[in-house]
């Protein structure tokens, strides 16, 4: 299969869906003429024109409201919030409008929009451009939260998100845009919901999402060298969560490490650890190990930044500690 970069895979999904469905619209800061600061929307303006591909002012509340209103009227907007760090600016629109209206209005409207954004630690983007805030949106009923880890999923999940009848918060990772991998040509749908077992193993389950999947896979390599067979689960969708795959794995391996790039305290890892401890209680041979970012603002300086989030070595150490 031909290989694409994660960013290109995303772009292909946008392009194919815009060709397929005239209701699909793309807007956000710097997405049109420039093609997005990560170039995910490159050349879409040239192909689809200024009515469907729009640069907006710097106005995150308006961007999110645009998506809600246009979706309510039958369009399928794909809005971009440049960094997940700016998502707090439109959380009112997400938690008080997007989450509420379809259900509270008794299903009388649908809101089929996608809010694309990206998070995570990159190279020195500092405290206001490096956060992982998926725990917040995953808490909100009515939203779906998707975080692809591979180029193929980036394409397949974005395609599914655009066709989905519900609001989807689609969180990319700045340090994944340049990763390459095989991506199917033409229509490629990865359903929202199911997790993927990226590597089978019987000794311990490593649960991760987004870039942490790559770290977990590297940890599995380290562990394999020591004779420990780790199973790696890529959640892909955080809400609704694929509890079945998660729990089935832990019931087999009896041990779990959950990894999330967001702050550890009250983070998404807590949901994973709690769910596993509830649903696999009798199967667990050791406490679930939970890794997350240090509970501090993300610092700029490299040694501090690097220390602030989980990595393969720390994941492997956590796995060893549940086996020890």
């Amino acid at each position: 299969m031909r290989e694409l970069r994660y960013a290109e895979a995303l772009r292909e999904a946008l392009q194919e869906e815009m060709r397929r469905d005239p209701a699909v619209l793309v807007f956000g800061e710097d997405v049109a003429a420039y093609g997005g600061v990560f170039k995910v929307t490159r050349d879409l303006l040239a192909e689809f024109g200024p009515a469907r591909v729009r640069d907006t002012p710097i106005a995150e509340q308006a961007i999110c409201g645009l998506a809600i209103g246009a979706a309510m009227m039958g369009l399928r907007p794909v809005a971009e919030i440049m960094y997940v760090d700016f998502l707090p600016l439109c959380l009112d629109q997400l938690v008080n409008q997007a989450s509420v209206l379809p259900w509270i209005w008794n299903g009388r409207v649908r809101l089929p929009f996608v809010l694309r954004t990206q998070g995570g630690v990159g190279a020195g983007a500092a405290a206001q451009h490096s956060k992982s805030l998926e725990a917040w949106v995953a808490h909100v009923p009515g939203l779906k939260v998707v975080m692809p880890a591979t180029p193929a999923d980036a394409k397949g999940l974005l395609t599914a998100a655009i066709r989905d009848p519900d609001p989807v918060v689609f969180i990319e990772h700045k340090a994944l845009y340049n990763t390459r991998g095989p991506v199917p040509e033409g229509e490629h749908l990865v359903p929202i919901g199911p997790a993927a077992v990226r590597r089978p193993g019987r000794d311990v389950t490593l649960v991760a999402s987004s870039r942490m999947v790559l770290e977990a896979l590297r940890a599995a390599e380290l562990l394999a060298a020591e004779g420990i067979e780790a199973e790696v689960i890529d959640l892909r969708t955080l809400r609704p969560l694929d509890v079945g795959t998660l729990v089935a794995s832990v019931r087999r391996t009896h041990r779990a490490v959950v990894v999330n790039e967001g702050w550890r305290f009250a983070g998404f890892g807590a949901e994973l650890a709690a769910t596993i401890a509830e649903e696999a209680f009798a199967w667990l041979d050791a406490p679930v190990q939970r890794l997350g970012a240090a509970d501090r603002p993300i610092p700029y300086a490299e040694p501090m930044e690097r220390a602030s989030i989980p990595d393969a070595a720390r994941i492997a150490a956590a796995a060893r500690s549940c086996l020890g």
Binding site: A62, G65, M72, G74, N96, W105, R108, V109, R110
Partner: protein, 331 residues
């Protein structure tokens, strides 16, 4: 639509204003009897704004409303039975009792919809208007907001975007002199909010919000402009809230003389006075009686209807799950 309402239109506006006033009064009574839930936001004294504005719209136009929306609901044509039932949280309500009085919506008549977050629907209204523009539909969104709401960030972002993209939105400020208890002079750096329109490249004007003809004319003109793809407008309708900010209001923050002065300018009495020579007392009494009976029927039916059962909470979270009605307003 002409900018001057005809007699038939005025007659209907009068009927609706009376209907809204009676609704507010009945809700006040039910509240005192302990038969309502939550803070209900009456609009007594402001009926000319909501009724006059919605009368100047077409059925396919949209209205985004606020926490104080009864005149918008009635004006935009939400059937009274389901409206009252929703306000009272019944299974027969327009949203099955899930929404309640602050969040009433009805896609069939273009009320999309109520909102208890001040300014919360303004960005949404802009998105609705974007859909009309993209599809080339000659439809307009009338976005109501309070004079308090005009100070919130979302109002700025929404107005700038509407002005920039020339979206078909009529921003209609119901300037009733207060937020909840804080006078507008203690909320806004400027007395006349309409002047801010210049900062968004849209026309702005102030109208007498207790004069239903003036409101109608201003909205009709702004809607026509929007339909001609000339972009949004800002209208500031000066009015006054005659009752509490909600049924929770404990009072004590208003000047009785000011209140009395505004009571003397009641928009319903004013329109009645204007219609009297044209329609005659008995026709007006008949109209009022009709409104009262319609309301009584709706109230009686709502009060007799059951609330939605607790099990309804298990209704699917997502439209993607089976069973969601998925009526789309855009169709």
């Amino acid at each position: 639509m002409l900018n001057r309402p005809g007699l038939g239109e005025l007659r209907e506006m009068y009927r609706r204003m009376v209907l809204v006033r009676r609704l507010e009064e009945e809700l006040g009574r039910l509240h005192r009897e302990g038969r309502t839930r939550g803070p209900i936001h009456r609009c007594d004294g402001q009926e000319a704004v909501g009724i006059g504005a919605t009368a100047a719209l077409e059925r396919e136009d949209l209205v985004t409303s606020t926490h104080r929306g009864h005149a918008h609901h009635v004006g935009k044509g939400v059937p009274l039975g389901p409206l009252v039932a929703e306000i009272l949280g019944r299974a027969t309500g327009s949203c099955g009792g899930r929404a309640g009085h602050m969040l009433v919506a009805d896609p069939e008549v273009g009320l999309l919809g109520g909102c208890g977050i001040v300014g919360g629907m303004l960005p949404v209204a802009v998105g609705q208007a974007l859909a009309f523009q993209v599809r080339g539909e000659p439809r307009v969104v009338c976005a109501f907001l309070g004079d308090g709401a005009a100070q919130i960030g979302a109002a700025h972002e929404a107005m700038n975007l509407a002005g920039l993209w020339r979206l078909p939105v009529v921003f209609l400020i119901e300037a009733n002199g207060f937020g909840l208890t804080v006078p507008t002079a203690a909320q806004s750096a400027v007395n006349e909010l309409a002047i801010r329109a210049a900062g968004y490249a849209m026309p702005g004007r102030t109208v007498d919000g207790n004069d239903v003809r003036a409101v109608f004319a201003a909205v009709a003109e702004a809607a026509a402009r929007a339909r001609r793809a000339e972009g949004p407008s800002l209208i500031e309708a000066r009015t006054f809230r005659l009752e509490g900010f909600s049924t929770s209001d404990l009072g004590g923050y208003r000047d009785p003389a000011e209140l009395a002065a505004w009571r003397a300018r009641d928009p319903i009495a004013r329109l009645r006075g204007e219609l009297l020579p044209e329609l005659g007392e008995s026709a007006l009494l008949a109209l009022e009686g009709e409104a009262e009976r319609e309301l009584a029927r709706a109230l009686e039916a709502a009060l007799a209807a059951p609330p939605p059962p607790a099990e309804t909470l298990a209704a699917p979270e997502y439209a993607s799950e089976a069973g969601a009605r998925g009526e789309t307003a855009g169709a």
